[in-house]
Amino acid sequence: MQISPTNIFAPASTPADSVFGLSMFVIVTVIAIFIAVSVLLTYAVVKFRARRSDDHSEPAQVYGSNQVELAWTVIPVLIVVALFLASARVIASVQDAPKPFSALEVIVTGHQYWWEYRYPKLNIVTANELHVPVSDPAHPTPTFMTLLSADTDHSFWVPRLAGKTDLIPNHPNSMWIDPHETGLFLGQCAQYCGTQHAKMLLRVYVQPRAEFDRWVREQQQVSQSAASAGERVFQSTACVNCHTVAGTPAKGLFGPDLTHLMSRDTIASGAAPNTHEKLRLWIQHPDALKPGSKMPPMGLSDGDLDKVTAYLETLR
C-alpha cells in the first residue's frame, strides 16, 4: 500500500534513488549515534540521581580528562568524514551527470502560480501537466529540464522523481529525471512564491514511449478555427492578453497556453479538475477556486460565459 504519492522514500527515478540510498546510510548512522548517546545520557541521569538517603556531601570533583576529550573528538571526526564522502559522491553523480543524446529537453518556467513547459525540439508548449517518456535503464531516455522563472522564486519538487531545484529569475538552473515506472507523479512548488504558493501543484505524467509519442503528435497539431460564437467572445475580451491559442490571434504569454486545454486533467495548476462546472467557475470567479491567483474574474454575462466555456471545451 502506498503511504503517500509524494513519499521521498519511494523513489522511481535515478536522482531520487541516489538520494534514497544516501539517506538510508545517513539515517542509520544518526540513529545509531542517537541510541548510543541517549543510552549514556539516560544511564547518567538515572544512576547518578541524588538519593533520599544521601548524606549531603559533595561528590568527587572531576575537572576533565584529555584522553577522554580526544576520544570523543576523534570518533565524531571519523563519522563526519564518512558521511561527507558519501554525500560528495552523490552530489557528483546527480549534478554532474552527462546529458545523453537520447535525452528529452524541456524548458520549465515558473510563473505566479503555474508551470509552463516548452519542448524546444518538439515545438510543444503546454502548462501544469508535464508529460515525459518512461526511461528503460537499458536504453535510458532521461528528461533534462532547464529551470527558469518569469517572476519570483519557485522550486520544482516531485519527491518520487528527484530532489527539488529552485527556479530563480535570471539564474537558469537545470535538473534531470529518468523515471523507470509509468504513472502520474505528484509534487508542488517548494519555494514560497506569493499568495497562491500552496496551489502551484505539479503533475508529471510518465508514459510508455508509444503513448508519449502519440501525446506529442496531438500537441503538435494546431486546431482549426471554427469561428464559433464562443471563439468570438474569447477573441474580443481580455482573454487574449494573457492566453495563447495557436493558430488564432490570441498570443498572450502571461497565462497558460490553452491550445490543447482539453487534453489536460486539471485547471488552475492542479487546483481543480478540468470539468465543465469548474472551468466555468474558474472563468467567472477564479477566487472561488484559488483566491489571489493572477486570473482575473472576466465579468462576462451568463450567455457569454457559456459560449466561452463551450469554445474552450473544443480545444483538444
Partner: protein, 556 residues
Amino acid sequence: MSTNTIQLTEFPVSRPLTLRLHGWVTTVDHKRLGLLYVLFALVFLTAGGIEATVMRLQLIRPHNDLVSPQAFNRMFTMHGTTMIFFVAMPLVFGFANYLVPLMIGARDMAFPRLNAFSFWMTALGGLLLYFSFLGGDGLYGGGGAPDVGWFAYAPLTSRTFSVGHSTDFWTLSLLVSGIGSVGTAINIITTILCMRCPGMTLGKMPLLAWLNLTMGGLVVLAVSPLTAAQLMLLVDRYLGGHFFDAQAGGSAVVWMHFFWVFGHPEVYVLAIPAFAIASEIIPVFSRKAIFGYPVMVLATVAIGFVSMSVWAHHMFTIGMTSGANTFFVLSTMAIAVPTGIKIFNWLATMWGGKIRFAAPMMFCIAFLFQFLVAGLTGVTLAAAPFDWQLGNSYYLVAHFHYVIVGAILFAIFGGFYYWFPKVAGKMYNEGLAKLHFWLFFLGFHLTFDFMHIPGLLGMPRRIYTYEPGRGWDVWNVIVTIGVFFQAAGVLILAANLLLSYFRGRTAGNDPWDAWTLEWSTSSPPPEYNFAVVPTVRSRRPLWDLKHPEDPDWRYE
C-alpha cells in the same frame, strides 16, 4: 556562608506608579534593562504564539478555510520574524545583560547608556513590525502585515510583487532592531573584556561569560550584513536601485547570500547563550564542576568560527555548482564535532554527580536529549543530496523548531527558574514549575516529533492548505493538538512567575548552593551589585569559600 549573609532588601517608601514607571523607562541599570528585554520578549512570545496557533488551526485538515491565503502568509511571516528577532534575541540579550556583570563581579555593563539605547531600538523595531497591521496598507490599499516570509527572498520583496508598505515595515523593523543588537553585542564584548573583577582572568570566567563573548562577536559579524541588506532593499524599493532586481542586472541570489550569512550564525547567536545557561545549571544540579572547561571554551569558539562558513547549506537547492555544494556539506558537518564535544562534556559533568531534579535541571536534561535529536536531524540536512528532498519541507521546519524550541527555549525556561530567586528574591512554586515542564514537554513532542513525518511525505512549508490524499492529514492533526499543551505550559509559567513574585517565600541569597558570583550578593541584587568588588582565585569562587579545605584554585 549562606547562614550569615547580610539582608540588603530595601523597603522603599511607596512612590506613585508614574514615578516608578518613569524609573523603568529612563533606567540604565543592566538588571532592569535585562528584565525589560525579557518582559518585552514574553509579550512578543504571546503574539508569535497566537500566530502559530492560527496557522496550526488552519492546517488541521486539508482544504480548510479558516483564514484566507493572504492572512496565512502574513501569519507565518510575522511568526518567524517575531520569534527570531523579538523573542529569541531579546531573551538572549536579557539574560546576558542581567547575568554577565553579576557573574564577572562588575557593577554594570561597560556602556550603560548604550545599553538603554540598544533596548529601546529593539523595542521600536518590534513596535514598527506590529504597526504594519495598521499602517502596512499604505497609499496603495495593498499589504497589511508583511507576507514575504521571514527570509524575504527577492524579488518577492520588490515593489512589483509587494505593493503598499508591508515590506517596508518589515525592513525598517529589522534595520532598527539590528542597530540595537549590534549595540548590545559591543557592550557585552567590552564588558567581558574590560570589566572583570580582580583575579578573574579569561580562563577563570564562568562559562556563561565565555559563551556570551562568543555570541557578541557573532552578532557583530552576522547582523551587520543583514543591516546592509536591508539598506540595499530600501534603495531598491525607493531609490531605483537594482541590487536584487533580476530584470535589470541585479540578482535574487545575492539576497540569499546576504540573508543566510546572517541567518546561519544567527542560529548560534541564539544557541550559544542557551548552551551557556545549560553550562551553569548542569554543574550546580549535578554538584560537580563543569567537565573539561578549556575544551568547552575551545569548542564554543570553534563553533563560532565555523558557523561563519556554513551559510550556503540553506541554499543547496538554488543550483550552486557541485564543488560549492560539496564544500558546504563539509563545513556544515564539521560543526557537528565541537557540538558533539559539548554534549559529551555535559554528560561527563553529570557522570558521578548527585543530580537534583529541580525544575531548572529537568529543563536542561530535556534540552540535552532534544538538542541531540536536533543536531542529528541537522546532520541529515547537511548531506546536500538529502537536503534536496528535505529542504523547505516540514521536516526542515520540525528540525529548526527542535533547535529553537526543543534546545534553546527549554534551556531558557531552565534559566528562568534557576535565576528567578535571584531576580525576584522569592522562590518559585516547584509544583507549578514541574507541571509547566511536563505540559510543555508533552506538547513539544506531540507537535515537533510528528511534524517531521509530513515533510518526509512531501509536504512543503508555507502552504496555507493542502490536497487530501497525500498521507499528511493525520500527522497535521497531532501536530496541532500539541500546540494547546505548549500554550497551557507557557500560561502556567506566567502564572507561576506572577504568583511567586507576589506570594512566594523568600529565597535567600543562594538557594541552590551554587558557586558563581551572582549568588554572593543579595536577592534581588542592589543597584550597585556588590558592596565590595569581589576578588576571585578560581572559576568557582563560592566553592572556594564553602570548601576552604579543598578549593578549586589548587587544581586549575
